[in-house]
């Protein structure tokens, strides 16, 4: 978007009205969503305005009247709740992706997670298991490896508010290793990453739900389920439904 079109939008808000679809997106899906936005806007007359955040925060905002048209969550529970609370369009829930959990370190050699048992790292980062599905999955993996209690009591687990912050902890080198989403490091070439076997944790099923009957939002839903949409999601580091 050029400077002048932004200026125009500021001066004449009504010019941009009616065509803008407001989408609340779980932060793990951010980089993929940017590519989807590009492809979608090239095909349709609608424009997308994205708000990224943790699924929990977006849920609380929507419940309290945030004016989004579509919610792409990182789990099934929040869209289901919104549907039950009649905040979402009934029957509009759909699965758009399955998240893939990876153990990632820019510095350590990761061989099938054995590194977790070593003392080679001071901090292990994960998303907050109470708030983020990727955090819950990471916790399940550590419990399976019987490492959760010891790492917790040694205060070596640091918790990011969402998967974006978790990535930031590892990327900045403050945590030597961390559980992140495969989608976050796919652009880095997946170097130093080990994908956790999917049967070690419950599937991270990511669902979307319509919050209004905006035609643009419906068009975006159709696009997400189309061949082109699915290809972009898969390329973004997810398994597709």
């Amino acid at each position: 978007m050029t400077f002048y079109s932004i200026l125009l939008m500021l001066i004449f808000p009504f010019l941009a009205c009616g065509e803008t679809v407001r989408v609340a997106v779980a932060s793990n899906f951010a980089s993929t969503m940017e590519k989807i936005k590009e492809a979608f806007e090239a095909l349709s007359s609608h424009e997308l305005a994205m708000s990224y955040g943790s699924t929990g925060k977006l849920y609380a905002q929507i419940r309290n009247g945030a004016p989004y048209d579509l919610f792409l969550a990182a789990d099934v529970e929040r869209p289901m709740r919104l549907e039950r609370e009649e905040r979402a369009v009934s029957g509009s829930r759909f699965t758009y992706a399955f998240g893939r959990l990876v153990l990632w370190s820019p510095t350590l050699a990761i061989e099938e997670g054995a590194v977790l048992k070593s003392a080679d790292f001071r901090f292990l980062a994960l998303a907050n298991p109470k708030l983020a599905p990727y955090g819950e999955a990471a916790r399940a993996v550590l419990l399976k490896l019987a490492l959760w209690d010891s790492l917790m009591s040694e205060k070596r687990i640091v918790v990011g508010e969402n998967i974006g912050q978790t990535f930031q902890f590892v990327k900045s080198g403050n945590a030597q290793i961390g559980f992140v989403a495969r989608s976050q490091i796919i652009d880095l070439g997946l170097k130093g990453a080990w994908e956790v076997p999917p049967d070690w944790y419950d599937p991270i099923e990511q669902q979307g739900v319509l919050l209004s009957d905006s035609p643009g939002a419906k068009a975006l839903c159709r696009f997400l389920a189309s061949e082109q949409g699915l290809a972009l999601i898969s390329k973004g580091g997810y398994r597709v439904p």
């Binding site: 001071r122 901090f123 907050n128 708030l131 918790v159 508010e161 902890f169 900045s172 403050n174």
Partner: protein, 226 residues
Amino acid sequence: MLNHADMMAWVVTLKLALVTTLILLVLGTPIAWWLSRTHWRYKFVLEALIALPLVLPPTVLGFYLLLTLGPNGPIGGALQWFGGDSLAFTFSGLVVGSVLYSFPFVVQPLQNAFTAVGLRPLEAAATLGASRWDQFWSIVVPMTRPAFLTAMVLGFAHTVGEFGVVLMIGGNIPGETQVLSIAIYEHVEGLEYENAHWLAGGLLLLSFSVLSIVYCLNRRFRGVWI
């Protein structure tokens, strides 16, 4: 009501606010004194620098602290070179962040009060043979006691209410870096509204009591510089 983690969040928060306030007093007093006395041309640069945390969004400050304290950053790198540990995700790291973040709240009231004291009482004391050190402790400190109280309370309260910086550099470790504001945030996000209400209510009560005590005390000090 309050679970174990919530109790620890209280302890960490109060400890952090206390340690931060003490450090701020020790660091802030000489700086405020110097600023109130110097005629240095570029004093305004330092003053602007000290006031920066008032303007910068705390998350911005926190994010760049995270990068600075990290092994690839200047401070974290230097620490590691000397064989020290990284400061991110530790209580000490939070102290560093809080001191930076609350600095103007301590320095500014002190500097204003020191300036208001003026030269005359000090000159009078000097003619009576009081050393500089003696002048400061026997004249300036008693005259500016309300300002010290204000500075301490603002530093303390501001640290208790801190969120963005801790969120960025804390890592949310219970008993180490999980402070009240973070614990409340986590409860809200996790839809545990009742726990959040209890913590927030307690925090409100504490803040209100502390501020009431200060304003009450300040009334008694009225007539002296603030």
